[in-house]
């Protein structure tokens, strides 16, 4: 099934700081829900392991993440693909960072993805909710990075 997710979040840091964080595998590992490991395999290329639970099914997910059309610190495209026991998924997100009136960063994203396998069938009615929930968890964690700093 296809998933679309759009939104924007304000983060209490400068666009430059935010940019550095979202391309830092250490920060990403802390912020991405269920992320067990995240290793850089090349410039803008990451390997990631997730442990997720959706509806009645749970399992691990091995994925590749790549950043392209990088335009620091304004925008990039994040492409994700991977598979696990839950199914196979892939998608991309266009991410743009702008500076708000208060000098803080405003990050907006437009993402579309496709999910196949068990999760597509079992979780279809809640998958959008799960996706939104995971996105919220991610940004909550990301904000925490800068609240602590």
């Amino acid at each position: 099934m296809n998933i679309e997710l759009n939104g924007s979040e304000q983060i209490n840091t400068s666009p430059a700081n935010l940019w550095e964080s979202v391309i830092d595998p250490v920060v990403l590992q802390r912020a991405i829900p269920g992320c067990i490991s995240m290793t850089e395999t090349g410039k803008g290329q990451y390997q990631m392991t997730l442990e997720l639970k959706v509806a009645a099914v749970g399992g691990s997910f091995e994925g590749a993440v790549s950043l392209s059309e990088m335009n620091p610190p304004d925008s990039c495209i994040i492409t994700v693909s991977g598979s696990g026991t839950l199914g196979t998924g892939g998608g991309n997100a266009t991410v743009a960072i702008t500076e708000g009136d208060d000098g803080n960063a405003l990050i907006s994203y437009q993402a579309q993805g496709e999910v196949s396998g068990l999760v597509a069938g079992v979780g279809q009615r809640i998958l959008m909710g799960v996706a939104k929930h995971l996105a919220r968890q991610f940004f909550t964690a990301l904000k925490k990075e800068f609240a602590a700093a």
């Binding site: 099934m1 296809n2 598979s83 496709e114 196949s116 396998g117 069938g121 079992v122």
Partner: protein, 792 residues
């Protein structure tokens, strides 16, 4: 009537099997444990179509408790492809995907481990490198040259394309005053048993024997395993004393069985695979027909239906199997219960990237009945004629039997008008009409559903040679063995598994009737395939006719031997004797008791007639009545018996919510002589519930990526006691001239007409708005949306 004629038949007797089931003492596949038994979990494809580049199972194999990982490549090198009913040698099917996957959920490889849980854990560690491919889901689209073939080696998606013309179709269309065309689609549903499929295989190398216990309902099951595994037929021993928790056609886990058979032999072990619900729904390969009908029908102003052109396109899913034959059985009742003079039939079956289709209750008859009954409703609507009167006008009359239909089958017997009249009386039809109108006046949508249809039963699988000329099958025999032991007790053997049909009750009742012995005293055993006579398992609504027939004939043979022994002993001619309650009475008043004759047969050879073998045992291998010829000129007598059913129901729903509420449901049912009333009624009640599911709820729905969305009972909706109303069965009995007691089939009853009747009721309810629902299931969302679109 029958109550006078029979002592045990047609009397209210509790099915023998009920005792163990009610007490929870049935023996199902999950109840069987063998020492050191291993377990299997299959890995499901995420993609609707993909090429498999490689499978890395090394991490899985390294896990504790994991014994082996079997891939499709390994299996394809070691076993023969699974049986294919058609001449499509390049549509090859193995238990696991070989080189490419063809539907989401298809098994890619299988983990063998010390427990099912360990096997499932190991699935997570298997890495499949696959490249997604184009896929096709829609049957019409699959026919296009531009669509990717599901089996590239086959060259197209077309499995079957046969055109039949029976009778003067063109002349009848020319002569008819009117014609109309419409399309309807039967959604992909199935029987979804509570017990999923399971199989246990055990290889004993010292005996060179593969023992199989399975939740199976499949003709020639042992043969098919032997062929796939390249084993002699007598190296496969299928145990028939396994209870099967529901089937109605779909329990045909041949791929599961060949898989575990291979593993058992490779590892020299016992191994069991029981599907979980998701495996069952996605990859049990047990979806039913998904069929689009394009119909043109020719008729006169007075409502006489003259001729019909029907194109039926079936979406078989990813592999052929026997699914395309489900377009064949309906040929045996292609005009339903009506006098339609000629028919043109175009049967098409295509592969798509959906789950594989299997036989489902009625073997394609219920969808075709839905199409025919929709045609009757449309003709009535076109002419402004009453739907009931139109049917009564076209129904075959009692005095026309045996009635030859254009496609070559004689209908054996019936009194359709009498059954309809009985139902109208029982339902108080004028009051039902008044209630519909009262509901409408109160602001509800209300409609009456009417459907008449036939249940062809007990036949040869003559659709096989009809649709595949290289198939020369002209028998579909069934057998029974009977033995009277030295203490005088009767034991009969049957040679199949049972999935709730009550075969033990059937055989004990029939034998009891023939031998005039209390059926409670007759023991029925279900041995294994190597100790069995030939049979074809309970398919095609055949066991009352065929197993009941074989049991009765075996009983008659024993009775004849007993009479001969008695005649010799008493020194009189056989025609001076009469058999009475197990004893033999001579005209001169002398009586030879049962125990005395048992003693003679078992111990006193010197007192037996010259040349007679000792003991009291018999068997019968029965050929299908009327089914002795191959098709000629595209025509064949396919089934000996035709049961009739007539459905009448009242439905209402709120126009905004659209949730159908069935107020009352009547079915007139004539399946000839009934052997056990409780079993026949149970079949009919369940069949109607099943049909309500097909009409309103159940569908294997796919998303645009080829993912099955309805793969659990959260999404695949089944009717519950909330949706199934109280059902009143109105009984009628027109015996068949072709069977031992006049019995006909009833295993598909209810299901064959309920979807048509429920659809008719919904369509009647919205008829004032000019809405036609043309696809099953008719979901409440479809109803409320259609009404909103018309009224807003």
């Amino acid at each position: 009537m029958t109550e006078q004629k029979y002592k045990f038949l047609s009397t209210p007797r509790r099915p023998v099997e009920d005792r163990r089931f009610v007490a929870g003492r049935g023996k199902f596949i999950a109840d069987l444990d063998r020492p050191n038994m291993l377990h299997v979990a299959p890995l499901a494809s995420h993609y609707a179509a993909a090429v498999i580049n490689g499978i890395d199972a090394s991490a899985a194999l390294a896990m504790p408790g994991v014994v082996d990982v079997i891939t499709g490549a390994e299996l394809a090198a070691a076993v023969q492809p699974l049986m294919n009913g058609l001449n499509t040698p390049n549509v090859r099917r193995f238990p696991l995907a070989v080189d490419r996957v063809r539907y989401a959920g298809e098994w890619v490889c299988a983990v063998v481990a010390e427990s099912r849980a360990l096997a499932e854990d190991a699935l997570e560690k298997i890495i499949v490198d696959a490249t997604p491919q184009p896929f096709i889901l829609d049957a019409e689209a699959a026919l296009l040259d531009t669509s990717a073939p599901v089996h590239p080696e086959h060259g197209s998606n077309l499995l079957l394309d046969r055109k039949f013309v029976w009778g003067p179709v063109d002349d009848d269309f020319d002569a008819a005053a009117h014609s109309l065309s419409f399309s309807v689609t039967w959604g992909r549903n199935s029987t979804v048993p509570i017990e999923t499929f399971g199989v246990l295989a055990e290889w004993n190398g010292w005996d060179q024997m593969l023992d199989i216990w399975a939740s199976i309902q499949m003709p020639k099951y042992a043969d098919q395993i032997a062929r796939s595994l390249d084993l002699p037929g007598n190296a496969i021993r299928v145990h028939y004393d396994v209870d099967v928790g529901g089937s109605y056609g779909v329990k045909r886990g041949i791929k599961h069985s060949v898989l575990v058979g291979y593993i058992a032999r490779k590892l020299g072990c016992s191994v069991r695979l029981i599907e979980d619900r998701l495996e069952n729904m996605r990859a049990g390969d047990a979806h039913g027909p998904e069929r689009k009908f394009d119909i043109t029908i020719a008729f006169d102003q007075d409502g006489t239906v003259r001729s019909m052109k029907m194109r039926a396109l079936d979406n078989a899913g990813a592999y052929a199997g026997r699914a395309p034959f489900q377009l064949g059985k309906p040929i045996s009742a292609i005009v339903g219960p009506y006098q339609i003079n000629s028919v043109a039939y175009h049967a098409l079956s295509v592969t798509t990237n959906k789950t594989v289709q299997e036989a489902v209750r009625g073997f394609g008859q219920a969808p075709t009945n839905y199409a025919i009954e929709t045609a009757m409703d449309r003709v009535a609507e076109y002419l402004g004629m009453d739907r009931l009167a139109l049917r009564q006008k076209n129904l075959i009359r009692k005095d026309q039997f045996p009635y030859l239909i254009p496609s070559g089958s004689y209908y054996d017997s019936g009194d359709y008008h009498a059954v309809v009249d009985k139902v109208l009386t029982a339902a108080d039809y004028p009051a039902m009409l008044a209630e519909r109108d009262r509901l409408r006046d109160a602001g509800m949508m209300a409609g009456i559903g009417i459907a008449a249809c036939l249940e062809p039963s007990g036949g040869n699988s003559s659709f096989e040679p009809l649709l595949n000329q290289s198939n020369q099958t002209s028998t579909w025999m069934e057998s029974c063995q009977v033995n009277i032991d030295a203490l005088g007790k009767v034991t009969a053997r049957i040679h199949t598994t049972s999935s709730g049909q009550g075969h033990e009750t059937l055989v004990s009742t029939v034998l009891g009737e023939v031998m005039q012995i209390d059926p409670e005293l007759i023991r029925i055993t279900r041995p294994n395939s190597l100790e069995s006579l030939p049979g074809n398992s309970p398919v095609g609504s055949r066991m009352a006719i065929m197993l009941g027939g074989a049991a009765a004939r075996a009983g008659e043979k024993l009775k004849a031997k007993i009479m001969a022994i008695a005649a010799h002993r008493l020194g009189v001619a056989i025609d001076e004797l009469r058999y009475e309650g197990g004893d033999v009475l001579a005209n001169d008043g002398r009586r030879l008791a049962w125990d005395e004759m048992v003693e003679l047969a078992h111990r006193q050879y010197h007192n037996l007639p010259d040349g007679m073998d000792p003991g009291l045992a018999s068997f019968d291998i029965m050929q299908v009545p009327t089914g002795d010829a191959l098709p000629v000129d595209d025509k064949v007598q396919m089934y000996p018996c035709y049961s009739f059913e007539f459905h009448l129901l009242l439905v209402s729903f709120d126009p905004i919510i659209g949730r159908p509420d069935i107020h009352s449901y009547f079915i007139g049912h004539d399946c000839g002589t009934v052997i056990n009333p409780a079993i026949v009624s149970g079949m009919t009640y369940g069949g109607i519930a099943h049909g309500i599911g097909a009409a309103l709820f159940e569908e294997f729905a796919y998303d645009t990526n080829g993912q099955l969305l309805t793969q659990s009972f959260l999404d695949y909706l089944m009717p519950s006691s909330h949706e199934v109303p109280a059902i009143q069965i109105v009984k009628h009995c027109t015996p068949s001239p072709h069977t031992v007691f006049g019995q006909k089939g009833s295993g598909e009853s209810g299901y064959l007409g309920a979807p048509a009747a429920v659809s008719g009721a919904i369509n009647d309810a919205v008829s004032g708005l000019g809405i036609h629902f043309e696809k099953l299931p008719i979901r409440m969302s479809a109803i409320s949306d259609a009404i909103a679109a018309k009224t807003s």
